[in-house]
């Protein structure tokens, strides 16, 4: 294993982490602020990707497509909020699980009816279609740098929004004691609506940004939803900082474990046993990580102060 390869893989791990953060950010916000388990976050991410693919195909330009997809995702989120979610605030978590599970079933099928069951394609926008040379024979697409950049921008933006603005202050206050905020004359329903719509738009944004790298297909949000939950739980629910750190941790553990785990095991076991064990362990790694973190710190790495 060369040092270059190790560095490249570390970078890959970090960028996978950023990708995860992009998706988990909206989830942790909605969950933390509104104490709402939104299983439908994954399908909102999928809808974002579909909208981006659709508008890009219609307009012929990715950025125009993105520009149209974002407000549509927002409107869509608000529609869902109006139809379903606002009736579930303050209800039992289990009710939220069942209702959002129903939303998943509906939307996964609905995108198939609307756009067909074949996966869709979104080309990388021309302006960013170049690549940089990472190591001998390996290029790094500039688009991935853009994705990483947007992940950082969202992390910083969210942190500032929550800690520096009046809205952020209300959001934090609402998370701690919603009735009190309401008694002080703030329309808590409207606050939640704004947060939910914002979360939906973040999910849609994540979907749109990864569409040029990934396959846009029905059900694409289901597995990512679980990963996003893993991230926000490791990080501590409601903590943007925690989600960011946990996303990077998960990305690193997964990528490095996958790339170098088998070699490590070969040092200890004979080759066939090593490959057998490696194959069994690799997909479990992030779950082992999550279980270990929760056993040591039952409320995640950065528990939100309540």
């Amino acid at each position: 294993m060369s040092l270059t390869l190790f560095l490249v893989q570390t970078l890959n791990g970090l960028q996978f982490g950023i990708l995860l953060f992009l998706i988990a950010a909206g989830l942790t916000l909605v969950f933390g602020v509104m104490d709402f388990i939104n299983l439908a976050h994954g399908v909102q991410y999928m809808v974002g990707a579909y909208l981006a693919a659709w508008f890009t195909a219609l307009t012929g330009d990715f950025f125009l497509g993105l520009l149209l997809a974002l407000p549509t995702a927002l409107l869509f989120g608000l529609l869902l909020e109006w139809l379903v979610f606002r009736h579930l605030y303050g209800r039992d978590h289990l009710d939220q699980v069942l209702a959002t599970f129903g939303v998943i079933l509906f939307l996964n099928e609905a995108v198939k009816v609307a756009w067909g069951s074949s996966p869709l394609s979104v080309p990388i926008p021309d302006a960013f279609s170049g690549s940089v040379r990472m190591m001998d024979g390996l290029l790094y697409p500039v688009w991935r740098l853009v994705v990483i950049g947007s992940g950082f921008a969202i992390a910083i933006g969210l942190a500032l929004l929550v800690s520096r603005t009046r809205l952020g202050m209300l959001v934090r206050a609402g998370a701690v004691n919603a009735p009190m905020v309401s008694a002080l004359g703030v329309d808590i329903g409207r606050l939640f609506m704004i947060v939910f719509g914002f979360g939906a738009m973040l999910a849609g944004f994540a979907g749109a940004m990864v569409a040029p790298i990934l396959s846009v297909e029905p059900g694409m949000g289901d597995n990512i939803l679980i990963l996003a939950f893993v991230v926000i739980v490791i990080g501590g629910i409601g903590s943007i900082r925690g989600a960011f750190a946990a996303a990077l941790l998960v990305g690193l553990v997964d990528t490095l474990g996958r790339s170098f785990g088998p070699q490590m095991l070969r040092l200890m076991l004979d080759p066939s046993a090593a490959s057998q064990t490696g194959r069994a362990l690799a997909p479990m790694l992030i779950y082992i990580l999550m279980a270990a973190v929760l056993i040591v710190r039952p409320a995640g790495l950065f528990p939100a102060q309540r």
Binding site: L5, K112, P119, V216, P218, R258
Partner: protein, 396 residues
Amino acid sequence: MKNAKSGAGIAGGAIAALAFAAALAAPAAAQEKLKIGVILTLSGPAANLGEQARDAINLAVKNLGGKVGGVDTEVVTVDDELKPDVSVTKVKALLERDKVDFVIGPIFSNVLQAIHKPVTDSSAILISPNAGPSSYAGKMCSPNFFVTSYQNDQVHAILGKYAQDKGYKRVYLMTPNYQAGKDSMAGFKSQYKGEVVEESYVPLNTMDFSAELAKIAAAKPDAVFTFMPGGPGVNLVKQYRQAGLQNIPFLSAFTVDESTLPAQQDAAVGMYGGANWAPNFDNALSKKFVADFEAATGKVPGTYAIQAYDAISLIDSAVKATGGKVSDKKAIEAAMKKADFKSLRGSFAFNNNNYPIQDLYLVQVAKRPDGKFQTEIREKIFTADKDPYAKDCAMK
């Protein structure tokens, strides 16, 4: 108080009624009809494979004027949801509720593992239009189980043989981390004798292949062989191209085909696959089929479609040969074994284990003048190929 009871009682009664309604919701069958049950994956991310097969079956039945083998035919289609346990109940519904004579399905081998026994234990005949695991090709072969696709190993062997013939010295193997992935590598290695640089197993449903691509770049192999069906295959192909690795030949099985090309598009052009057929197959029947299929569905058909189409043609030939006597299953099986039908892929025969003997080709992705993408045949790798498990099958 009494009313609370009745409320709950109503709920209980309603469930029971619902269960029976669900169970009995089949039309009463007229016995003279030929009934074909179709069980495919029609929901979830993998639905487009099942849809190709379903559309082809409907097209085939329509081309026969609704009379397969000259007998009025009814097709009952159910969705296996890609859940093995669900598929068992669904297939029992086909067998006992709909009383089908044939079952065509499924797409995936784990579903086949679940429904094989219930169907082969019944009097119905099972035809797999896609899944061809080794488990039923050898000792456990069965007289009422036919495969119109391939034995899985054969497809992987195409690429192994090609890599061997081409003189590639070092090949990098990468598959998903499950049984089919392991079998795929074994199939490739059965023909390829050069150095295997790395056997890389990636987790199911991998989205980001950056780590694997870096490893490939570092290993500098002469070629990459992969088996990466569905969404992960789309991700891999796009990212492979974006990482600038296209100079390393990309040999694949079930990774670039008509089900994934709509999403891979230009990124897949030039990549290789192995198949028993491709849309540009030079055969009048096949050309007509491709045109009809595209007219009906707007999609380019893949092997999933022609294998299902052939399944109907096979039934048609056997029922005709027995003079429309659907109930005589032994005669039908004997007639099916002759494979006396016009396959869309030209030459086709059944081996003693009821798996196909057919020509296998190296295919390559190309962009058509109309802007759609398809695989095209590059060279014939095997002629009248038989799978290696048939010798363990006791059937003649």
